[in-house]
């Protein structure tokens, strides 16, 4: 019944963008990127963030559900790291997306009646 109005790319892009749509989650991603050579645990990040550990855990889950990170059990810790494959896809989708902007055209929206 419900027709498909959005392309797979549009839905995927929105999914990835939504996951990155919170400063805590951007922080987590950058933390994992910077510390990719060593083990990254929830507790390490918790010490640098002003939120409860349960809240951090939820943000980790969101990034995991979106496919941007993955966790590996290293009991009693859980080691987190970037999901490179999906991050590469997100990078590609976003790159393609912005490439469609025509920076040569300067004739639109240059009047004084800008909202």
């Amino acid at each position: 019944m419900s027709e498909e109005y959005y392309t797979e790319s549009q839905k995927k892009m929105a999914r990835y963008a939504k996951a990155l749509g919170h400063p805590v989650r951007v922080f987590i991603m950058e933390y994992l990127m910077k510390n990719a050579s060593r083990c990254c645990y929830s507790g390490d990040m918790a010490e640098e963030l002003p939120i409860a550990r349960s809240t951090l855990s939820q943000h980790l889950s969101e990034l995991k559900d979106a496919g941007l990170i993955q966790g590996e059990i290293n009991a009693p810790y859980i080691k987190y790291c970037i999901n490179k494959e999906n991050c590469a896809e997100a990078e590609r989708l976003l790159g393609q997306f912005f490439k469609n902007i025509d920076f040569s055209n300067t004739t639109t929206c240059n009047s004084s009646k800008i909202l």
Copy 2:
């Protein structure tokens, strides 16, 4: 009292990403990019989307508040277009962000205990 935990880049990135975190808004952005040479009105997009016009208007407002698009009054229409300056910033921020991924390192999270 509330210390600053997130960088300006992190907050800006999250803001832009959040604005792109819905298929309708990705659709709108791509529509405006593709039709940059001509006028884009709310009604044109409404005809291609399965949502109420008031809902579309709200999504347009979100993109506008995030700085990704702008509107120009062309009564009784409102002409929308990409805000190139801010889109360029978003592109730059996201590009920098993903560039931090170390694709050469393959030693993390390759065990069988992946969550």
